[in-house]
Symmetry: C2
Subunit: 404 residues, 2 copies
Amino acid sequence: MSKLTEETVKNKVADRVLSMRSSAVRDLFAAANRDDIISLAGGMPDVSLLPAEAVQKAAEAAYDTNRKEALQYGGTPGRPETAKVFSMIMETGGVPGVDPADILITTGAQEALDLLGKTFINPGDVILCEGPTYLGALQAFAAYQPEIICIPFDEDGMKMDLLEEELQKHGKGGVKFLYTIPNFQNPGGVTLSLERRKRLLELSEEYDFMVLEDDPYGRLRYEGEPITPLKALFDQVIYLGTISKTFAPGLRTGWIAAPSAVIEKVNLMKQGTDLCGSTFDQVIVEHYFTDTPWEETLAKFVDTYAERKDAMLAALEEFMPEDVTWTHPTGGFFVWLTAPENVDLVALLPQALEQGVIYTPGNGFFPDGETGKNCARLAFCFESPENLRAAIERMAKVIEDSRA
Amino acid sequence: MSKLTEETVKNKVADRVLSMRSSAVRDLFAAANRDDIISLAGGMPDVSLLPAEAVQKAAEAAYDTNRKEALQYGGTPGRPETAKVFSMIMETGGVPGVDPADILITTGAQEALDLLGKTFINPGDVILCEGPTYLGALQAFAAYQPEIICIPFDEDGMKMDLLEEELQKHGKGGVKFLYTIPNFQNPGGVTLSLERRKRLLELSEEYDFMVLEDDPYGRLRYEGEPITPLKALFDQVIYLGTISKTFAPGLRTGWIAAPSAVIEKVNLMKQGTDLCGSTFDQVIVEHYFTDTPWEETLAKFVDTYAERKDAMLAALEEFMPEDVTWTHPTGGFFVWLTAPENVDLVALLPQALEQGVIYTPGNGFFPDGETGKNCARLAFCFESPENLRAAIERMAKVIEDSRA
């Protein structure tokens, strides 16, 4: 074969690769390893809050009591014992009665997104999501070349009037599925109201599209009462769960809960994708949620993140120019900030780095990579309240300086 | 949305799902949990041979010394420290000098197959492989709808004259890539000779196709001298490695070593597929291969499997009818058995179960699902020599009875 250079490889890759954007920002971040830089960019849970003894106890099950199973290949859908634990977690989160047989375990919820795209998307299919939405969902779906259409949100989540307008354009059966993060959306931080959840499900029936409910942050509520999950309102919803925010993302364990006809097809696609997930990690996850006081640890997460969220909102209020706005999350990891149209937060990143702060510019959360350059996702999950305050002060200065 | 039944889901799935075959045999196997059944079907390493203390020592690094990193998200290409270990493993396996930056870590080598398919295959692209070949590779590639063409092998691996004939049909640039398992092929058990390896690389240059070298079994040689890997003969080869057979498949850790232009594109596809692999498992793997006497443990694997291989070959010689033939592996996990054309080993599976033995019928290893019904893959890796002898005796009886 000829030498595999950038040039020859470009001529060999599949068309779908051309629809993928590499994140230029990611490269910039990789360069940003200076100690004095405060990051509002990553969506990383603070795993230092996990009690060491709980982690060890859960790990012991994998290297000791369940060793032979944990080291061996598992079934493609994952360990039935672990699925049972996920059914229990869903029950404590407001979705009772999910049959563990209707749960398929994935390598993080990211793999769930890929598998659902792989199972359902033909090139050109129309799919809907919030705009902005989770970057990783856009990447997962883009590989299967759909037309992705974004529906704007306000503080009550996706706007149902705009959704209905869009649905009318495509007619019944014209949309393959709608992807939503109803709780503390990534990157918006907003939560879909109960009224809109009900309306969304009505529309899904009227226009016959599937609903994918992605719920990584649902357990991280800092104020107010939980809102009934879509999956609890209608059992045909395809629900995506993960332990990345309630336990540890390094264990890459998520799941899909869906009607068995869906699970069967997704399972077929997973056979070729990775055969099975890590049984070792599944055993650990299973024991973490049965043998350790995980709800106490979760309460500690909630207290810590709540304090950080408050610190960020207070700092935004204190430092940001008057014409900058932001969302007011009651949970999750993120605030969505909107500067005036003429402020380009992509172009300002080098100045921000200079000032010792990084954030994720908003355009990465739109399929066109262009919309949202005046916006940014600010993560409050990982830094201390003091650092968050300093970071927002620095960012405000960058925005102000850009207009001087 | 309408209820997601088998019927409605069938109308919603992407076209690629229709090109996937579910394994009917898998269902039969699931039913075969009787204690008196000896399995020649699975390709499972015997993880009970792993020293408990080595596993614990490696796990300790993940839950204790490297805890924070092991529990957190990692980079998409995987931990650089783990890539360094894989470069070392490749060096001890005859491929020196691979830059760890040219290694991307995957969720088992199965994900490597999926990612390479996702990166390179357009619907209709021609790809070549041995026939029969690894079922999981067929499943991984089939999702991207290529035309898969099989080249027969003999005891010296893929037949180069038949390969050349096929290449002539497609012309220069007419084949996207060739996938091969040169050492102790799955399911064939055969090994590509050095002479043919060199010829294969010549042909790859003449006809300009990429070569994917999948090497799960290379370290499990029971006789003779290792043959130089394709990757060592030509550094542009795309090499797939795994720790599933030298350590533990439950940790789902494999890798791709390839020119950086390839790694870059594969990395882009992996971002959307699962974001990153399990950092927890990568830390364990890393420490297993640096802090424990893994080559001693490997020697124990080799001794045990060698004995089982000999037992199976002796039993085949002793019990099989004269018109049945089989390959004579010098390593790996499998023997490929060929019965006369009129013996249907798919149809005979229920009788085999009745007799207390299962095997994998050969048709699963061909893309059409039809060729090879008179063949079977026999795994000698998991059962004791006594059990293997009994299993072959039972299988021979099933074949003989079918002709009575």
